[in-house]
Subunit: 357 residues, 2 copies
């Protein structure tokens, strides 16, 4: 070791410092590993090969099965829905939202999700809380049919409050190049099919939190059978398995994951230049939580539709709307034809403000 000259300005510590004395709890880190292992293991799929010393997760992609495989990858978080989880003291469902945000981006071009990795940053490492979070991620992976291949849990005492945390998810899927869905397949006359959402999913929470700041989350506020907090925390529906089945059995041209910005913000992303669509908002039956938020925040109707999914978390643009709806309903997915593709060049939401209040 090269020894620099002594420096009288270097204060020095009164006691010798160690990693443990600096606040890093290695026992807690080991406890986390032990607690999350069974959750990771229950998501293992055919391709999982384990890892080399844990440096990276290994996943076999059988080369013969794929002619021109395209890997699709997405990263996402759950926004400030986490703060609702914190207010409710319940952390085993945020992971489902996280997986949903990622895998339902992967399925948009038609990819089958293969695996997911999570990143969890915590203020203070509480093994039981981290286990809850990872259990939710594993639940989501099971629903999506993908493996939880790895992840990282980071303790950031200076950056996050002790009971605060953040999660990010990263997923990889695969699709044959000549099977890619997207704008290039969409034509005027295609039907737009909506698939029902379970509530806000993981978007619009900055607005929802602002509206509900002074409201009692334990009260039902007219929601019947559930509290406002339960409605706001309700896990995101995961669509990818049903979407892939729809793609395999009917003529699907594009899929649209309705996230931040709502239908108006997302549907244009999967339409080719020059084409547009009309979506009839009167065909929607938004979960009641949206009406509670609209009233309490006196949110204008068009702002509701620009911020929230308003009852449909995934859209499919298909050749035959009725066939698609029947197929989805056969799989217990509440679906309906909500509009159609035209040559208007823009997405219009029809029927806003009609027949209500």
């Amino acid at each position: 070791m090269t020894t620099p000259p002594p420096d009288p300005r270097t204060a020095g510590s009164p006691e010798p410092l160690t990693y443990a004395a600096a606040g890093v709890d290695l026992a807690a880190a080991e406890a986390v590993v032990a607690r999350i292992r069974p959750h990771v293991e229950r998501t293992a799929t055919e391709g999982v090969l384990g890892s080399v010393g844990g440096f990276g997760g290994l996943f076999a992609l059988p080369g013969r099965r794929w002619r021109n495989p395209v890997l699709v990858s997405a990263a996402d978080g759950v926004g400030t829905k986490i703060e609702i989880a914190r207010r409710m003291g319940r952390h085993d469902t945020i992971g489902v939202d996280l997986v949903a945000m990622v895998v339902d981006d992967l399925v948009v071009p038609g990819a089958k999700p293969l695996f997911l990795l999570d990143y969890i940053a915590v203020g203070r490492l509480d093994p039981a809380a981290v286990e809850q979070i990872v259990a939710g991620v594993a639940d989501g992976c099971e629903r999506a049919g993908c493996a939880l291949l790895g992840g990282e849990t980071a303790e950031h005492p200076g950056v996050l409050a002790a009971d605060s945390y953040d999660v990010a998810g990263f997923g990889v899927g695969v699709v044959e190049r000549d099977a890619l869905l997207g704008p290039q397949r969409v034509s005027p006359g295609d039907a737009v099919v909506a698939m029902a959402s379970t509530g806000l999913h993981a978007n619009g929470y900055s607005l929802a939190r602002r509206i509900t700041e002074g409201m009692d989350l334990d009260d039902d506020h007219g929601l019947r059978l559930q509290s406002l907090g339960e409605a706001l925390l309700r896990p995101t529906r995961i669509y990818c398995v049903d979407c892939l089945d729809l793609v395999a059995n009917t003529e699907v041209h594009a899929l649209c994951h309705v996230t931040g910005g709502g239908i108006a913000g997302n549907l244009p992303r999967v339409l080719p230049a020059g084409l547009g669509a009309v979506v009839d908002t009167t065909t929607f039956t938004p979960p009641m939580v949206f009406e509670v938020l609209r009233r309490a925040g006196r949110v204008p109707d068009d702002e509701m539709w620009r911020t929230f999914n308003m009852g449909a978390g995934m859209l499919a643009i298909v050749a035959d709307g009725r066939e698609a709806v029947e197929h989805l309903r056969g799989r217990d997915v509440d679906a309906w034809v909500c509009g159609g593709v035209d040559t208007s060049g823009r997405v219009r939401l029809a029927g806003l403000g009609q027949g209500r209040r």
Copy 2:
């Protein structure tokens, strides 16, 4: 929309609420997208196909080139090195550290990094600061030869302080199944080759920050030519390109990314059951920043070696140590034989505490 019965307990807002009024700055979000685009574009490699409406990044993996491709994936952060960046007010190098942490995990089983995605959580969305962070990520991707395929920037006003942020990286690489490196290839008599580090890389910062809490980061503290802050913020060396070249040209059995836990914590992860290794610490010339930390914190020698990389950020376990060192030096990588594999069943650090002070 289903209308629930009016609820007198629902307070309601005095003014109608919108997404913008709730503190979400859509203009800033658009500015971020515009600012990071050129950085993303300069990392584009052959496989990048763009994306479908930005829902997921697409990367073509030519099927004919791979017989039995194994995807390798890793997620990581940079720990609390971010707090050093914040104290220094410099955010364009943390991205290099992030890429290094991820891609040099991917190369451990011998995988070529294909692409990376980043997740950035900020307290308040400052487009210029986010651009600095992403510029660093793009720099790292260029050095690693991988594409920045996507990412997510999340604003968490309630969770992170306005000037605070966190980053996570996710990467995917590919390796032929029959070319996987790892413990199964390691034999007694193999040489352990060390590759020089640039400093702490992104590990041990909880201890380093604790030691340097009261120290002036702008002062050199005997480091010569650089301040303590510069030495602590120095970007991590990225080894994957040199490692892959070494693998292609010499007989490499395993690679070991020296991260948290140092050599003692990481080398056992790539040794098979029953084998061990001796690493001669007197062959190391740790960068001076380690000596400054050791003195200022009065950190015991073995604790230094259990916490920091002490001058070697990557180890290669090879059939011929001299050949590997020559090959690496021919690529301007400072490398040396630091030890060997034996049948002791454990990793020993020899020479600690000798010939110094």
